[in-house]
């Protein structure tokens, strides 16, 4: 028996096995069951932010209100850039293929859901061409660029492999009123 025949048989076995398993599954499970599980997986996946930065503060413990794709969303009070939530990421995770800058600028925003002030870290996601959807420019605590470390308009893509700017996420570092 030559090698090609062995490979062909291997493929056939995999094919047949996959077919049988899917037929069995289709008999056992309703379509809704599949959809509900898929939905659960998707919802679960968004609950885990993928950003590789140290998060001493649990993002999920913050009450959220509003539309994260709108520039009026409370986390964006000091945002200058493009919203990652419009570009295939979320307000806490960079879109696939981009890398979060460890160097950021930090501001504060008041959350209308609990009326507390939060320290916000605006991390730029870098390494991909700029995403031009949902640009957003809010200036709370923003300083002119000659106060470099407190200027939101500076591109913060340094410390990353590639310094091209893609979009910005907004992470909660903690509350200001302890």
């Amino acid at each position: 028996m030559n090698i090609e025949k062995i490979i062909e048989r291997g493929y056939y076995w995999v094919d047949e096995h996959a077919r049988q398993t899917s037929v069995t599954l289709a008999r056992k499970l309703s379509r809704r069951n599949f959809l509900s599980r898929l939905g659960m997986m998707l919802a679960g996946a968004t609950a885990f932010p993928l950003l590789p930065v140290a998060r001493s503060f649990a993002q999920s413990s913050v009450e959220e209100v509003g539309d994260p794709q709108s520039c009026d969303y409370w986390r964006y009070c000091a945002m200058s850039g493009t919203l990652c939530s419009c570009c295939g990421g979320s307000y806490t995770s960079c879109p696939p293929g981009s890398e979060a800058s460890p160097i950021t600028w930090v501001g504060t925003c008041r959350n209308p859901a609990d009326n507390r002030n939060y320290l916000m870290s605006y991390n730029d996601c870098c390494g991909k061409a700029v995403c031009s959807r949902c640009s957003c420019h809010n200036t709370e605590r923003d300083k002119p660029v000659y106060f470099n470390s407190n200027s939101s308009t500076v591109l913060w893509c340094f410390g990353t492999e590639n310094t091209s700017y893609h979009c910005t996420v907004s992470l909660v570092l903690g509350t200001t009123d302890e």
Binding site: A54, P102, I103, V106, L119, F147, S149, N150, G174, T176
Partner: protein, 123 residues
């Protein structure tokens, strides 16, 4: 009124997160070679008298828009928070007067001062 004044009387940790952590990162480890670490090394520096004022005179510290008293608190906080294992036994916290005085003499070339009194940044 009371609520808003509380917001501005920030703790050293809050001031650290707001004005320093963007570059030095929330746990102080920095990002070599762009941003120096604040962990362990500052404690070792404190065995050299000239390096006390260095912590205040570096542009990142002296130019921060907070009062001398708040800056003193932030520096003492990061010495005890990130450097408790490396501080000399006889270490005394920085005083507000010491910080006010040093803050006026902002370093134009911090790397040169560091090399002169401590060691080069790359060592």
């Amino acid at each position: 009124m009371l609520a808003s004044s509380q917001v501005f009387a920030a703790s050293p940790r809050t001031n650290y997160l707001l004005f320093c952590s963007g570059c030095h990162r929330p746990s102080g480890e920095g990002k070599h070679p762009n941003v120096p670490t604040l962990v362990a090394e500052l404690g070792r520096m404190m065995s050299v008298p000239e390096m006390r004022q260095y912590l205040v005179r570096v542009p990142g510290a002296s130019s921060v828009p907070i009062s001398d008293a708040e800056l003193t608190e932030v520096i003492n906080w990061l010495l005890t928070e990130f450097n408790s294992n490396t501080l000399p036994r006889n270490f005394e916290k920085l005083s507000v007067d010491e910080v006010s005085e040093a803050r006026k003499k902002i370093l134009a070339d911090p790397l040169k001062y560091r090399e002169l009194h401590w060691k080069s940044y790359d060592d």
